[in-house]
């Protein structure tokens, strides 16, 4: 069997009495994009900081490409690239100088640093701004430079901590495109996100983390299928009607519903039959819904089903509509 790119075994981290990570176990396969999904404060960044040797675990162990992150931290640092959710580049240096600094500190041969910096600036569409101080860059440009900086040493394993939080849709799409290109090069990517859409679009496998605990480990498709791949939403117009309708549906059809204000949600497998049953039932009761939506279930629905609460920003909102830091 091929060696795991990242192997996390029973990993815990305590900060005083706060349990940030609670016995996490998962594996990342070489060459895949692996998503670490969870809301703010779930522990995603703590995992990243342990895997990139910045933090020590309190218990359990973690290996990166076969090297223990505590005992062989130096070896691990040679093999990884990190782009944080804060654009960790020096605002007073130019884009080119930033990349060259990282090149020198990554111990690249001097003759390779210049061409490598130029190539990355070109690839990340920063050539025109390459010799301007980074403090004049837009948020999207900084973020691209940050990812470029993580790639200077051509690491076989790349850590992206909330790579697109706070970016506009165009910059986000551009960055997603770049990440997909990287993967086709063979780079393994471990990314954290609180945007379900992002995990859905990029990751081949995800683990869902909530309050430091692992609550799911699967492909996005399988997670959605586990729940039922269709969601019916009924807008009853007001909360009282929604409560009565929920009681009717659960009592007579045995389908579980989730209520959100005047709206009812039903994850299900055979949407057509269920919907026909519901509408007949409600019509007979004189409670016709104001609006009916049938859609494919999103990871948001999955998250709600797994944790019992929504991701903080609620359903449907895209990454661009919120700025997120953890």
């Amino acid at each position: 069997m091929e060696r795991a790119a990242v192997s996390v075994d029973d990993l815990s981290k305590h900060f005083g009495s706060l349990v940030a990570l609670d016995r996490l176990t998962f594996e990342v396969r070489p060459g895949e994009v692996f998503g670490l999904l969870g809301p703010n404060g779930a522990g995603k960044t703590t995992v990243m900081r342990i895997l990139t040797t910045i933090l020590h675990p309190s218990a359990g162990r973690a290996e990166v490409l076969g090297h223990d992150v505590v005992r062989e931290a130096g070896e691990v640092r040679r093999l990884i690239g990190l782009a944080g959710q804060y654009a960790a580049v020096d605002p007073n240096l130019t884009g080119r100088e930033n990349l060259r600094l990282i090149g020198r500190l990554s111990r690249l041969a001097r003759s390779r640093i210049r061409p490598r910096a130029s190539a990355l600036l070109h690839r990340f569409d920063l050539t025109a701004a390459a010799d301007r101080p980074v403090r004049t860059y837009s948020g999207g440009m900084r973020r691209r430079l940050d990812v470029a900086a993580a790639l200077v040493a051509e690491p076989p394993l790349l850590f992206l901590d909330e790579p697109t939080s706070g970016l506009d849709p165009q910059s986000r799409n551009a960055l997603w495109e770049l990440i997909r290109e990287l993967v086709s090069d063979g780079t393994t990517v471990l990314l954290t996100t609180q945007y379900l859409e992002e995990a859905d679009r990029l990751a081949e496998r995800v683990v869902v983390v909530d309050q430091g605990r692992l609550i799911a480990d699967d492909t996005p498709a399988a997670l959605k299928a586990r729940l039922g791949n269709t969601v019916i939403e009924l807008d009853m117009g007001e909360r009282g009607r929604a409560v009565r309708a929920a009681a009717t549906i659960e009592g007579r059809l045995g389908e579980t519903t989730e209520m959100d204000g005047s709206r009812l949600r039903l994850p299900c497998r055979n949407a057509f039959a269920v919907l026909r049953g519901i509408l007949n039932l409600l019509e007979a009761d004189g409670h016709v819904p104001r609006n009916v939506t049938v859609r494919e279930s999103s990871l948001d629905d999955v998250f709600l089903a797994l944790t019992g609460h929504r991701t903080r920003a609620g359903p449907g909102a895209g990454p661009a509509t919120r700025g997120g830091t953890e």
């Binding site: 944080g84 007073n92 990282i102 111990r107 690249l108 070109h122 040493a153 051509e154 090069d185």
Partner: protein
């Protein structure tokens, strides 16, 4: 561009020893800090305006009061300039704390920690860059001193020796503030924490006035703290007289400070909660 990223990364070079790694990585970080100094001129302006104000203020406001208590034949400007050098170096060391705390706040420190660089390089690079800044400021203050009537009395080599002593003291103080910066982690707190410690060190010393004018209990402190001892050593080197004892005392302070605070600073850097 195609990358072959299945096997080893590009970072293949390994320095021959730990010291080589520190020098190499430390100079890369120092280079980066010095670029910031050139590109954000206010960083340099602030650290030059303050000693300029001090030298003018002490020369013309307090000079008349202090002069009678000076040893005979010593002018106040000759007494003052060595003190100003030392004060410049001491206050300048605050920048070490502010710079490191800023790097922690922006997340740059996290990136450095994830790189295969020497664990001491970020601190060495910062204190070295601050040393270079002190060279600039001390040179400037020498020129200003000359314009105000300051003269070298014991020859240029002794004067240059005095300047080296000032720089060594500034470098030692930078290591204290490297620890402060790593400990507090944000620039505002670093600055606020530094001043109440530095002000008594600088003012309850022989930097600006002879210690003999102070009350006895304060003299006991003022005579034995490093600012006074460095100022006295530099002063003797500039004005003439037997300097060896003072110089040794100052150097022992510098060596002692670095020996304690450099490992402590690196420990703070490595400390992974």
């Amino acid at each position: 561009m195609t990358t072959t990223t299945t096997g080893r990364p590009l970072s293949a070079e390994r320095p021959s020893s730990r010291i080589a790694a520190t020098v190499r990585d430390g100079s890369a970080v120092a280079w980066r800090n010095l670029i910031a100094l050139r590109r954000v001129p206010r960083l340099l302006v602030f650290s030059t305006v303050q000693p300029l104000v001090f030298v003018l203020m002490f020369r013309y406001v307090f000079g008349g009061v202090v002069s009678p208590s000076l040893p005979p034949g010593v002018s106040y400007v000759d007494f003052l300039i060595p003190g100003i050098f030392v004060q410049t170096a001491v206050f300048g060391s605050m920048n070490t704390a502010i710079g490191l705390a800023t790097d922690m706040q922006t997340g740059l420190m996290e990136r450095f920690r994830s790189l295969p660089m020497a664990r001491s390089a970020v601190l060495v690079g910062r204190t070295t860059a601050d040393l270079a800044r002190n060279v600039f400021v001390v040179t400037l203050m020498t020129a200003v001193g000359f314009a105000l009537g300051f003269r070298i009395h014991a020859g240029v080599p002794a004067f240059l020796g005095g300047v080296l002593l000032v720089l060594a003291f500034g470098f030692a103080m930078s290591w204290i503030f490297a620890v402060v910066g790593m400990g507090v982690g944000d620039p505002e707190t670093a600055q606020a924490a530094a001043f109440p410690v530095l002000a008594p060190l600088v003012f309850a010393s022989s930097a600006f006035v002879p210690v003999a004018t102070m009350p006895g209990w304060l003299q006991a402190f003022a005579n034995h703290q490093p600012v006074s001892q460095t100022a006295e050593a530099v002063r003797t080197l500039v004005l003439g007289g037997p300097a060896t004892g003072d110089v040794w005392q100052a150097l022992v302070w510098d060596a002692g400070i670095v020996a304690v605070f450099a490992p402590l600073g690196v420990w703070f850097y490595r400390r992974v909660v």
